[in-house]
Amino acid sequence: MKDFLSSLSSQVLVCDGAMGTMLVSKGLPPGGCPEEWNITHPEVVMTIHKAYIDAGCDIIETNTFGANATKLAHYSLEKEAYHLNKTAVKLARQSAGDKVFVASSIGPIGELLEPFGILKKEKAYDIFNEMVMAQIEGGVDVIIIETMTDIEEAKIALMAAKKSGVPVICTLTFDRGGRTMMGVKPDNAVRVLEDEGADVVGANCGTGPEDMLGVVEIMRKAVHLPLIAQPNAGIPRLEGLKTVYDVLPEVIGEYTARFIEIGVSIVGGCCGTTPAHIKRIADIVRTYQR
């Protein structure tokens, strides 16, 4: 296996697309726990990983976004947090072999930190730390902290992740006029994350590629760290009782070129993106390979 950071310094990497919306298309019921499928439907999770690998991605993300003790408690699975994280990394590793990097996903805890909510910093650290320990034991190449809206929460997750020694990517979601739900600005966010030791920073989810381009441009001016962009396939729309995302693979492809031109090092997708989107991204990225 190549080293993640040295690969990143010499080429643009392709990250995979959505996991959650793919699981739904394969039968995860509304309100079901996506991470439980690592145990109950491992073959489905691996099918999704393999579809993304076949589409040409260099990095796949584990099915662990919400695998924290607080979120899992809603499904009475809080005691399974460690097991689910470790199992998810193993599924991804089995799918990836040694050709593709495995990045373990860590999403927000799902409660607001004090003083705005009731979650204490120490507890938040313990929750993230449990995920990190399990993911490291599972054999992950890189940790990706994503969809953060509160810079304090991102910092706590980063602190836990950095202790593991593997490279750490950290993304936030900017869906309130170029800021996160909690009001965090892209330039301030990446400066803080750089100081805290993030290896790659960027944006995911929240918006389609068009709005994300503006956010990433601001980040580019603020820091020299490698950047990652993982837009949604637009804003979801309903057709009958089926959710449809409108941004086509071709459009994602056009934006991939623009992301690379402003200096983005990793391009992938979030909600609504499919292996077809990732294949288009990979095709474009290959044309830029140095």
């Binding site: 739904v24 509304p30 309100g31 869906d175 006029g177 800021r179 909690m182 729309r237």
Partner: protein, 209 residues
């Protein structure tokens, strides 16, 4: 009215202790609970809502302002019945079945409360039956439903179906909101209103009154 002016400023700044003192002072100056509510708490929350909608302030600022509003409300509440303070309407609100996200729903609840509505919050992961039961028992003007996920927003038409089946659909106006929800979706499922954000929820409710 200097006192009310100070109350509003303190509420907008999220100073709960100051707001509590301002409300007590206002009462000792002989202002009615209704006046303090309308001219103080509600007007200040209106400013907070407008600034939030304009992306001038964000969730943390709204939450501290809401805390300050509640501090003032706690002083006034014992007087509401005694002085016959009128609420402008009632809303039953909740996050739909299968969805555990409550930040947006809580913001709507706070804004509606700040606009003078009585709010009955059913929490998260609320089933169609629970929504219908609450409409039957609480007899609200509005039913507010929230969803953050594209998968769970599909619970909304189910709630509307349940309301129809139980003969409650014409007893309540349904307003929906949440990140994946749109005006078109609201129209398609037969909701009465769609709210873009917490502040819009208040505007839509006022329009539908």
């Amino acid at each position: 009215m200097d006192n009310i002016e100070a109350l509003r400023e303190n509420l907008i700044a999220g100073k709960a202790d100051e707001v509590r003192k301002n409300v007590e002072e206002a009462l000792s100056l002989g202002l009615s609970a209704q006046t303090i509510l309308n001219e103080g708490l509600m007007k200040a929350m209106d400013v907070v809502g407008k600034r939030f909608k304009a992306n001038e302030i964000y969730v943390p600022e709204v939450l501290v302002a809401a805390r300050a509003m509640h501090a003032g409300m706690d002083v006034l509440k014992p007087l509401f019945v005694k002085q016959g303070v009128k609420k402008i309407g009632k809303i039953v609100i909740g996050t739909v079945s299968g969805d555990l996200h409550d930040i947006g729903k809580n913001l709507v609840a706070v804004m509606m409360e700040g606009a003078g509505f009585e709010v009955v919050d059913l929490g998260v992961d609320v089933s169609s039956e629970k929504f219908a039961d609450a409409v039957r028992e609480e007899k609200p003007t509005f039913l507010g439903m929230s969803a953050l996920l594209t998968t769970t927003m599909l619970s909304m038409p189910k709630v509307i179906d349940t309301l129809k089946e139980t003969g409650l659909r014409d007893k309540v106006k349904v307003i929906i909101g949440g990140a994946p929800v749109s005006r078109e979706f609201a129209k398609e499922i037969g909701a009465d209103g769609y709210a873009d954000d917490a502040r819009s929820a208040v505007e839509i409710a006022r329009e539908l009154m």
